[in-house]
Amino acid sequence: MKINNYIFVKDISLKKNSLKNNRNFIAGSIIVVFMMIFMLVGMIASPYDPTAIDSSAKFQGMSLAHWFGCDNFGRDILSRVMEGTYATFKVAFGTVIIGTLFGIIVGALTGYYGGLIDEILMRINDSIFAFPSILLALLFISLLGAGTYQVTLALGIAFIPSFARIVRAEFLKAKNMDYVKVAKLMGASDFRIIFIHILPNTYTVLLSSIMIGFNNAVLAEASMSFLGIGVQPPDPSLGRMLSEAQIYLAKAPNYALFPGVAIILLILGFSLMADGIGRD
């Protein structure tokens, strides 16, 4: 109803819009911050060397010395989950950065200029989009070889189209707003209009899709490492650990449990944040 956003514009922007009062966003942030601390502790003060093999500790259960227990090589699971979270996070982060950066450029150019550039770039986009991102990443891996950086690059490229679409849609909307004409009349260059005048208006939409993209990247990394083409042994990654743990599921359920929980928490945290941002 028109009247609502008419009178209360001021109040909405001051009170309702503020993320501070958004429970989803707060809960999500808490989980994410917790996982960050967990990860950082692992980097600075990991209780054990995550790759150190101790044959006397094979399949040791949870104890004071090994909080999460030990795996089939006697490696400390807590240290490995910490290290693995970092590895997963690194891949997801890199993926999102590549995807967002190029997605913004492609989306902004196609959305703002339209015409031939739009046709060409979006058709390329469509053809990338037509493949499931994991399948596409697999294709890149087979060309580039397995490994952390290759996976990041492959997933990053696979993520470009979805970001490009979101940014393009926002630019199509913004392009026809009068404030863009006003900026033109001021004498702003196209570059300036695109990146300084319009782009900040896509932040809310972009931010929540970055969060969702991050989740997809976490899942994709985990699945690829699970398949054995992501992070290479003996380095841990959450997906790798799950894959290694599945044989011992009955014998040592804690082996699979903790990396699983770490994945769940990462995804839950970012989903809640995305939901919180998207709601405004």
Binding site: M1, K2, I3, Y6, I7, F8, K15, K16
Partner: protein, 267 residues
């Protein structure tokens, strides 16, 4: 007015919002007696609470985040506090409403005929032919030039003024006792505004529909309404017969509204 029947009585309506940290009252002690077949103007600037009051009467206020006091008595039913299904039958049958923006109030994917016909399908058991006749008559009533053609068109094919006529036809098809017109002409050109006002006047005369006409423009109210309520920051500051208020405004605010009307004086 003595001989006319009272059809709607609003007493002590207060509306308070709760969806922000600080509750905010937007309508204070709103009273309105609406008699059969009259046209009442509700005037004020944006933020004065005029649309809120009208939405309450139409039963369109969101039930969450909101505190309402008072009563809206229609035919013995309190529209403010009655059950949802009861409200729904009244909404379709007895109270019609038209909004400011005719483009967003029509569904872009349906043809005009389907949209005007929709209330008949929901509320009546008329046959297809009877419904067609009614729709045709309704579109003729709002003085659309070629109703047979308009029926087959989509909203985006019509001009703003035509869309607003279609909206009026949709609102009038159940022959409601009350029509609420919420700034129906604000988005339109002056010439079209005049035509819409004429159509509303005609419908009022022919069908005896009482109209609550909401506007920020006193010049339109002057043309259309017998009675007017002036609202400011949630309060009714002045009310009475339109000609009295125009000739002898008591409140400073009313004077300001009247003086704001652009006029053409040749001197």
């Amino acid at each position: 007015m003595e001989d006319k029947k009272l059809i709607l009585k609003v007493t002590d309506l207060n509306i308070e919002f709760h969806d922000h940290l600080i509750p905010e009252t937007v309508v204070f002690d709103f009273d309105l007696d609406l008699y059969e077949g009259e046209i009442v103007g509700l005037v004020g600037e944006s933020g004065s609470g005029k649309s809120m009051s009208a939405m309450a009467i139409a039963g369109l206020l969101d039930r969450k985040h909101m505190n309402k006091r008072g009563s809206i008595d229609y035919d013995g039913i309190d529209l403010l506090n009655c059950k949802r299904d009861k409200l729904r039958t009244i909404q379709g049958n007895d109270i019609g409403i038209i909004f400011q923006e005719p483009l967003t109030s029509l569904n872009p994917v349906y043809r005009i005929y389907d949209q005007v016909e929709e209330p008949l399908r929901i509320h009546t058991s008329l046959t297809k032919e009877e419904r067609y006749e009614k729709v045709l008559k309704a579109l003729k009533d709002v003085e659309l030039d070629d109703p047979e053609l308009v029926m087959k068109q989509y909203p985006h094919e019509l001009s703003g003024g035509m869309r607003q006529r279609v909206m009026i036809a949709t609102a009038m098809i159940m022959e409601p006792k009350i029509l609420i017109a919420d700034e129906p002409t604000t988005a339109l050109d002056v010439t079209i505004q005049a035509q819409i006002v004429k159509v509303l006047k005609k419908l009022n005369k022919e069908h005896g529909t009482a109209i609550i006409f909401i506007s920020h423009d006193l010049s339109l109210v002057e043309k259309l309404c017998e009675r007017v309520l002036v609202m400011k920051s949630g309060y009714i500051v002045e009310s009475g017969l339109t000609k009295d208020i125009f000739n002898n405004p008591k409140e400073e605010y009313t004077k300001k509204l009247i003086s704001a009307i652009p006029r053409i004086d040749f001197d």
